[in-house]
């Protein structure tokens, strides 16, 4: 709010007015105090109050958004002004300006600190941190003659440590409960007894996805070995597996 504004040429019988940018009502108040060359500890409240309102009106004329914050202070200033006009009954009565003065003094400190930071900010604009590479020490080649059992074991330990680091063990893999060979034998039994075994229905009704995959692999393996044939009339239709009459190879029947 309150950026420098000027009227455009075509609607300017009045001279163009430029308002300095204010950070808010306190900033405007400090500006007025400085323009009047008075101390914030002894503000001529009537003058400042009138000037504050006049500035607000000019800001409004210039179509600047007058934030509620300015209006709050405008009202507060008016209240202080009217209290100043009343005769004060006793000496120990508090100066109506006291709180405003304290706020202005605090804000002046904030501005001073901000100016210090602005100076530091400016001074350090060009300073950048470094990005220097770490040079690796080449692992030394060991003469073969000197590689003994302990060196070998140490190397293996390193490998395992790295493996464990890179493969967190927190998620346990389920033990393999199904083997392809076991399913091959079972499927061979089924097609030997049944003319056409509905493999797809069988897969879809397995409770365990791993088991279903194992059955499918077993089916494919039997077809590859020429022990079985698979038939499907169309995509997604039932897959029937039939026996070709060739026996299951010995290495499959013997293991397990």
């Amino acid at each position: 709010m309150g950026t420098t504004a000027a009227l455009s040429d075509d609607q300017a019988p009045r001279p163009a007015v430029a308002l300095p940018a204010f950070e808010g009502p306190l900033d405007l108040l400090l500006h007025l105090v400085r323009e009047n060359r008075v101390s914030i500890w002894d503000i001529p409240i009537a003058t400042i109050c009138d000037q504050f309102h006049a500035t607000l009106e000019r800001m409004a004329e210039l179509d600047l958004e007058i934030a509620g914050e300015y209006l709050v202070y405008a009202a507060w200033l008016l209240a202080i002004k009217s209290r100043m006009l009343l005769p004060r009954p006793a000496d120990d009565e508090e100066d109506p300006r006291r709180e405003l003065v304290e706020r202005l003094a605090e804000y002046e400190k904030v501005k001073a600190a901000a100016a210090l930071l602005a100076g530091l900010d400016e001074m350090r604009r060009g300073v950048m941190g470094l990005r220097v590479a770490v040079e690796q020490r080449e692992p030394e080649d060991l003469p073969l003659a000197e590689i003994d059992l302990l060196t070998l074991a140490e190397a293996m330990r390193g490998v395992m440590e790295r493996y464990r680091r890179e493969h967190p063990a927190a998620l346990e893999l389920e033990p393999l409960r199904h083997t392809v060979e076991e399913k091959m034998r079972a499927l061979y039994d089924l097609i030997s007894r049944q003319r056409a075994f509905p493999l797809l229905s069988h897969l879809l009704t397995r409770p365990d996805r791993l088991e279903a995959v194992t059955w499918l692999l077993a089916g494919l393996e039997l077809v590859r070995l020429g022990v079985a044939e698979a038939h499907q009339r169309s995509h997604f239709a039932e897959i029937f597996v039939t026996a070709t009459g060739r026996a299951l190879p010995e290495e499959v029947t013997s293991r397990g």
């Binding site: 940018a21 900033d27 501005k111 210090l116 604009r125 060009g126 300073v127 950048m128 470094l130």
Partner: protein
């Protein structure tokens, strides 16, 4: 002397790769074997001295609670052109005021800042947090438990301040407390 030089070399290497200010204690710890903070300070002195000689493009600075190696301000233009980065945008007056309040009064809440500045500073605060100059440091245990704000170590590095106790005094030297701040 040779030992001091080799400690200086190690310190320089550490600061060159750290990417952020490193505390003296951390340097001593990495150097190991009974290296004291005094040893490190002596070694860093040597590093700083070497970089004050002409021909060095770097400087040792004490910022953000530790030491770091950085480039010199006079190379800004060339470095920016080389890296293809734009000049750092300046902080607005509103941002500087809000940052000043956080820096000097931390931990501080947004209502306290609004009160001091006389304007709502929520938007400015968001910017400061995005720029990592200010962080949330919990909640104040009063009605409404407003968030508490503090400056970051990035703030210290940004402004070239070693630690918060080294923040410059905004009241300046030699001014009586509560004395007449005459405008002019």
């Amino acid at each position: 002397m040779a030992e001091l030089e080799s400690l200086a070399a190690l310190c320089e290497a550490l600061l060159a790769v750290a990417g952020e200010p490193v505390r003296v204690e951390t340097l001593a710890e990495v150097a190991g074997m009974g290296t004291s903070a005094e040893d490190i300070e002596a070694a860093l002195n040597l590093v700083g001295e070497r970089h004050r000689q002409p021909g060095s493009g770097l400087m040792l600075e004490r910022v953000g609670g530790g030491y770091r190696l950085a480039t010199r301000p006079e190379h800004e233009g060339a470095l920016r052109a080389f890296l293809g980065v734009q000049a750092r945008s300046r902080l607005s007056q509103a941002a500087l005021e809000t940052l000043a309040i956080v820096a000097y009064r931390q931990p501080v809440t947004l209502p306290e800042i609004n009160f001091l500045r006389g304007v709502n500073s929520a938007g400015v605060m968001r910017t400061l947090i995005e720029r990592r100059l200010v962080r949330v440091a919990g909640r104040k245990q009063v009605v409404g438990t407003p968030l508490l704000y503090r400056t970051t170590s990035e703030f210290l590095t940004h402004f070239g301040i070693a630690d918060l106790s080294e923040l410059p005094d905004p009241e300046g030297p030699g001014e009586e407390p509560g004395g007449g701040l005459v405008a002019g």
